[in-house]
């Protein structure tokens, strides 16, 4: 009935992988004093890109003074995610070159332009929201909740409410497939 939940033997149990990530987070906090986060890196990177065109303007913008366009711990953390996922996919033989997610294709067809537009727009909206909320599912969802931060729990609940609304609108009237 629900084929997506059938456990694929090429992957690990999500509870195990999740719990191990919890140990990695504890280690990171213990050794480096750093909590997981990802969205600030997009601000720093946007600042680096804008600096190539108008360095003077960037240097005077409030937000880029607050989150300077430099490479820091979190920036390297995000780069690390890329390589960790790449190596894991390669050595387990689960690297999957795919332009369109299966669920998306069944609902919206094979147009790459359509997917690119939705994903780009989604990215713009998501990052604007993440910066307003001061964190994403890593910073608020994992690091915030693990510290029992009130902001983390509120953010996590709002992330899901917003996401469920968007998913309802996109897949309205479709049966589980």
């Amino acid at each position: 009935m629900n084929s997506t939940t059938a456990r694929d033997r090429r992957f690990w149990n999500p509870y195990l992988a999740g719990a191990l990530s919890g140990l990695v987070l504890i280690g990171s906090v213990g050794f480096a004093g750093k909590f997981f986060g990802a969205s600030t890196t997009f601000v720093r990177s946007a600042g680096m890109i804008e600096k190539m065109f108008s360095a003077e303007r960037v240097s005077q913008m409030d937000y880029f003074m607050k989150e300077a366009p430099v490479i820091d711990w979190q920036w390297m953390f995000v780069v690390g995610i890329f390589f960790g996922a790449l190596i894991a996919a390669k050595i387990s033989g689960t690297y999957t070159l795919q332009a369109l997610p299966d669920m998306w294709r069944r609902r919206f067809g094979t147009s790459i332009l359509k997917r690119a537009s939705a994903a780009f727009a989604g990215g713009v909206i998501a990052m604007f929201g993440a910066r307003l909320a001061d964190g994403c599912p890593s910073g608020h969802g994992l690091s915030g909740s693990a510290q029992l931060a009130v902001s983390g729990f509120i953010a996590l609940i709002c992330f899901f409410i917003g996401g469920v609304i968007a998913a309802r609108m996109l897949y309205k009237g479709r049966d589980a497939q």
């Binding site: 939940t5 999500p14 992988a17 504890i26 690390g80 890329f82 894991a88 990052m127 604007f128």
Partner: protein, 175 residues
Amino acid sequence: MNTLIYGLITGFLFGFLLQRGSVLRYDRQLGALRFMDMTIVKFMFSTVLVAMVGIYLLKDFGIVVLTVKPTILGAVIPGGLIFGIGWGLLGYCPGTSVGAVAEGRWDGLWGVLGMLAGAGLYAEAYPELKKTLLTWGDFGKITLPQALGVSHWVIIPIFIVGGFFLFYWLEKKSL
């Protein structure tokens, strides 16, 4: 320099585990938002429950200090909801979009580009937001135990028991 290397190693391990947990996928993320496949919830909650115990132990021994983000209702509620809507459209969050591209799901790249644009857009809006939304309902850097006036060792076991009930229920429903 050490800080940067720690960042790279930590990210590598986390990215490795995200891939092994099969959460770097649109289908998994939308699966959770459509209540069809709760893999990402299992992963996230397992991470949080384990980390919660370890971080508070380290804190009690004076080894670490918490880095709690302030609870500003005017920012975190609308920001969270806006993030959620974008997340539902994109199907990846900031960290997983990068990981998805790494495992070959390159539609994540549109998301990465969009998120860079979104970050630039927010930087433009920030001076205005700083005077408005970001000042509304500011409760400071509070944690749940502080807000309730109880020890964190009262809260943590409740979360763990609640988490196990949730996991049991998800498995029973084959979600």
